[in-house]
């Protein structure tokens, strides 16, 4: 945590030095953000920096989970929704019914990281099939030796983010698909630090969350390389950005209420966010998008392009890499 703070504050000097627009100490207003706990570190870092730029604007950042954030977003309670997955058809419909138009902005890549206890010496990589037998409902796997007879007779204790989080949704989509279900005998918490503590405290534990929480707790946890079909890949900034860390690398988003974008403080905050998202993402442990994508989102925001590009006309999910889907 302290380390992150240092990184952020040293970064702030760089940003202040290179700021392209003058700070506005007279601007007032509030910007309300809520949603994914995975996106939270980036938004929070941006908000901290922003406070120096526009000290009178109050920015609040909540962690209700991606689903919880969209619920509040559709109710018009917040200006910006943090999301660790694209908006779902159901949520889009809610927004439509409430007359809320939104602008979709990708801000960084995350590599969903599978972690185990430091004392876990036997396991050095997992395949998606392994994960299926650990996490799927109805699977008989209870102990590590059930996965591989050479592994020890220790119970696998599972730690998962809350069922309303985008991280859980994403994991479920990859591991269980559309029809499968995740088993119920796991400890579930919306607070990623609870998961870090649980995995680092139990020898047989396994858990998953956004890579930022792993990078921040590298000394307490062991991340497992995941087999992407051809080789075992560790989550690093390089493998996440290239998409080599498959299938667990994913884009993160913010959704801005179009009506809020006409408010001066919100508009200023979003512009500031877009300008600094890449550096902030790297500073807190995520991976910045290619420059070109930030330019695309800046254009989309300037032109107030509303709606999502991840759902087709029938409300079906559009599948593909961020750089090809998002224009």
């Amino acid at each position: 945590m302290f380390n992150k703070f240092l990184q952020v504050s040293s970064l702030s000097l760089m940003i202040l030095a290179g700021a392209t627009y003058a700070s506005d100490s007279k601007m007032t207003g509030t910007v309300k953000v809520d949603g994914s706990s995975t996106v939270y570190p980036i938004t929070e870092a941006v908000a901290e920096e922003f406070a120096e730029d526009a000290p009178r604007v109050r920015v609040t950042v909540g962690i209700s989970g991606t689903g919880g954030g969209f619920k509040r977003f559709a109710a018009g309670e917040i200006d910006i929704s943090d999301a660790s997955r694209p908006i779902k058809a159901k949520e889009q419909k809610l927004c439509e019914e409430a007359g809320i138009d939104f602008i979709e902005i990708p801000i960084a890549y995350d590599g969903l990281t599978i972690v185990v206890n430091k004392e876990n010496t036997w396991c050095d990589a997992l395949t998606v099939d392994h994960l299926k037998s650990i996490f799927l409902d109805g699977s008989e796997t209870k102990k590590w030796k059930d996965l591989n007879p050479e592994w020890p007779d220790i119970e696998i204790k599972k730690f998962s983010p809350g069922t309303d989080s985008g991280t859980f949704d994403y994991f479920k989509e990859v591991v269980a698909g559309k029809t499968g279900a995740i088993r119920s005998d796991m400890s579930v918490s919306e607070d990623d630090n609870v998961l870090v503590k649980g995995v680092s405290g139990n020898k047989g534990a396994i858990g998953f969350f956004g890579c930022a929480y792993y990078f921040e707790n590298k000394d307490k946890l062991k991340a497992l390389p995941i087999h992407n079909g051809t080789s075992n890949v560790m989550p690093t900034s390089k493998t996440i950005e290239s998409g080599e860390y498959a299938p667990f690398s994913r884009p993160l988003f913010i959704y801005v209420n179009k009506a809020s974008a006409s408010k001066k403080a919100v508009d200023y905050f979003v512009n500031y966010y877009l300008e600094n998202a890449g550096e902030m993402a790297n500073a807190v442990g995520y991976v910045s998008l290619p420059k070109e994508l930030y330019e695309r989102s800046q254009n989309n925001y300037k032109n107030l392009r509303t709606g999502t590009q991840f759902l087709d006309a029938e409300g079906e999910k559009v599948i593909g890499a961020l750089a090809t889907v998002y224009e």
């Binding site: 119920s184 918490s189 649980g198």
Partner: protein
């Protein structure tokens, strides 16, 4: 004299008038005070009634849902409202987790609380008592979140170094912290009742040749028993309802187990999980927390009632 008379009349007239107004004014104030005090007192009753109504209606609407049935709820042994191919609403894993934590807590708080009460009331010289009592009150004033972190950062690692098979989040650690928290409740109420045992009983015991230990354990303790029992019941009710410590240290996995080293989920911890924005505010999971709350409410209410009955029924009356 004639000159004086009217003035006296006048005088008595004014004094009568003033006295009348004064009295009316006083009566008004009195009535006003009664209304204010009555309102203040009824706030808690209205709150209680409101809670019962909300719990009752929400629980009722929970049981009206298709996914649940009353018999599954009260007899089921699997609690998995959020995950799995099929949702299960059997309350027993949550009750089991709650009772496991409460049992550990009571094994700590009741013996320690009662013994220290006997020590403070019967043995301790005033100077020691004047030191100990404020210390205990400080213990009672520590916020429960602090106890939770104490459990997580001190008790759990200590337990793990002794018992290697123990989970990081476990019922034992949370129970110990809840137990420590409950010591002041048991101790201070027990001490009050022990001290209210009349001295004539002690003197009688000494006169019969009893030692100090005989007197304390065989004469004073039984005389104060009703108060001590209700103190213990109060502390058990407090332990059952404790939220923050268990939410932090006991874990979030509802399972039917008697192993104190295992991760459990208590009823209160489940409600925390639901209300922390984990789920839809309309779904069956959300509603289920009201049914859990109602069950918890009935449990603590019956403990409090039993406590009241015990106090009334077994109270020794001395003249």
């Amino acid at each position: 004299m004639t000159g004086k008379e009217p003035s006296t009349t006048l005088c008595s007239n004014t004094s009568h008038q003033r006295g009348g107004r004064y009295l009316i004014w006083k009566k008004l104030i009195d009535r006003f005070a009664r209304t204010v005090l009555g309102c203040a007192a009824s706030v808690s009753i209205f709150t209680m009634v409101a809670i019962v109504i909300v719990l009752g209606t929400e629980t009722y609407s929970f049981f009206q849902l298709e996914e649940v049935s009353v018999s599954d709820f009260f007899l089921g042994t699997e609690w998995s409202p959020l995950l799995g191919a099929q949702k299960h609403f059997g309350i027993w894993p949550l009750i089991c987790g709650t009772l496991l934590v409460t049992l550990v807590a009571s094994l700590i708080s009741i013996p320690l609380g009662v013994i220290s009460a006997i020590f403070l009331a019967e043995y301790a010289p005033p100077i020691v008592r004047n030191f100990f009592k404020p210390m205990l009150e400080i213990l009672a004033g520590v916020p429960t979140v602090v106890y939770g972190f104490f459990a997580l950062t001190v008790i759990t690692p200590a337990l793990q170094s002794i018992w290697s098979g123990i989970d990081f989040y476990n019922a034992l650690s949370a129970g110990l912290a809840v137990g420590i928290m409950c010591i002041p409740i048991v101790c201070s109420i027990s001490e009050d009742t022990i001290r209210s045992v009349p001295n004539s009983l002690r003197e009688g015991a000494y006169a019969l040749g009893g030692t100090k230990l005989d007197t304390s354990l065989k004469v004073v303790f039984p005389s104060a028993l009703s108060g001590i029992v209700s103190a213990c019941l109060l502390s058990i009710a407090r332990a059952i309802g404790e939220t923050m410590i268990v939410a932090l240290a006991a874990g979030n996995l509802a399972q039917l187990t008697l192993n104190p080293g295992a991760q459990v989920q208590t009823m209160t911890a489940y409600m925390v999980q639901i209300f922390l924005g984990d789920t839809d505010a309309i779904g069956v999971e959300y509603k289920s927390s009201y049914a859990v709350a109602a069950t918890l409410f009935v449990m603590t209410l019956s403990l409090t009632l039993i406590g009241a009955i015990v106090t009334k029924r077994y109270k020794e009356v001395y003249n």
